[in-house]
Subunit: 247 residues, 2 copies
């Protein structure tokens, strides 16, 4: 029986790939993915047989990968970050059910962008948090903003995926206005661009300044909760040890 | 100058460690951690110099690791999952500031328990989600339950860390009651015990049955949103491709 792996290869560099992601890609008959992801992975596994498809062709790409697995091939469907968080794991399972494909499917988890961005900024995710994508391609804008509101109300640290695109330029501003109802304008906000890649840059600003900050489609935005502070250039949400036990 | 790494080694097995976590542990002068974590990692790096301290001694352990780094050693402070999510990264930065320690600190992100548990269950985290710990050791119970309420209101998939301990047996039930105000009793709930370890077990139940389900301190509980369903034994939160484009 063929096997299809949904592999999250982490932020991009070899160093943040898991041992299993490396093994699965190394041993796959076919490595399938969105062109940008294939280009990222190719330098580390130059001899593999790659099939790259452009963005927005997720369904075709998955159907193709499932067909390959049905022909008894071992297929690695790659995506950056964790394949189980806004990744390809879901659509693969959905389509395999739909196609009644008798293949084995396994998800290989990876380091998601929130984890990578947090490690660059300091330690902003030491406490309860929410992860919300600002892409309204498949979620109504109203629901997205309701979720921002809920994160604000619950004093959850908030991690925004897909904060901006060429078409969606204003959603970060809308989210900022909502959060300012619940949080101080001085609340630290970290922005990491190309987290975990060669081109990585990052900056720490405040919620009150977020509208003026450089955010684009390659950015992850991490908004602190009421306890988050910045010291020595690092964004820290204290876990509560000091408050409870003292240092 | 000494260097202190906060290393997340993932769920437990070698296969889910990142390349960097492996390299850092391999090259450290000292590997420091909670006894259980040291025991997990030792078989893969038998020749390292380990310093294990019992649970609840986080502050002492960190101070010790910082002192070692001040003496020009390279120290790997290990924890399971991602060191940046409820991990040791924060307390290390807090204490290093407090101690005015002139050392370099780097966080090495890893696969967090939510990612691992999701990969076992299917693809429940394809959409916006919240991560909440039910431990009230350092967060007031009232605030924890407010966050559960917010996750319910925002139709966020919800991932519960530390759902139960010997002392805290009723919090899962309280959370269930809150979520039942917003979600159907048939909402799928996945429970993964020892995710990513040899002893791993998992089951899928419903929100209405959660109070009767076996949950303990080694479990991660993943509660679906209004769209999550179960098919062929897998828990899936559809990303929305079918709704938008059809298959």
């Amino acid at each position: 029986m063929g096997k299809l792996y949904a592999v999250g290869f982490g932020p991009g560099g070899y160093e943040h790939m898991t041992q299993k992601a490396i093994d699965v890609i190394q041993n796959a008959d076919k490595v399938v993915g969105y062109t940008t992801y294939v280009e990222m992975v190719k330098p580390y596994f130059p001899d593999k047989d790659y099939v790259a498809t452009p963005m927005m062709k997720e369904i075709d790409r998955c159907k193709m990968a499932i067909e390959m697995a049905k022909e008894d091939q071992t297929v690695a469907m790659i995506s950056s970050g964790d394949s189980g968080i806004y990744g390809m794991a879901g659509i693969i399972l959905e389509l395999a059910n739909e196609m009644k494909a008798d293949i084995e499917i396994e998800t290989v988890p990876g380091v998601t962008a929130a984890s990578m961005a947090a490690s660059v900024l300091g330690a902003p995710l030491m406490r309860d948090f929410a992860v919300v994508s600002l892409s309204d391609l498949m979620t109504p804008l109203e629901l997205i903003m309701k979720r921002i509101e809920c994160a604000g109300m619950g004093d959850l640290v908030l991690c925004l995926y897909n904060p901006k695109s060429k078409k969606r330029t204003d959603y970060v501003n809308q989210a900022t206005d909502i959060l300012l109802k619940y949080r101080d304008p001085e609340t630290p906000v970290g922005i990491v661009r190309h987290a975990g890649r060669k081109e990585e840059t990052s900056l720490i600003t405040t919620l009150g300044q977020l509208k003026e900050a450089p955010v684009d489609m390659f950015s992850i935005v991490l908004i602190g909760n009421s306890e988050t502070y910045v010291e020595n250039g690092k964004m820290i949400t204290p876990r509560g040890y000091e408050k409870k036990y003292g240092f």
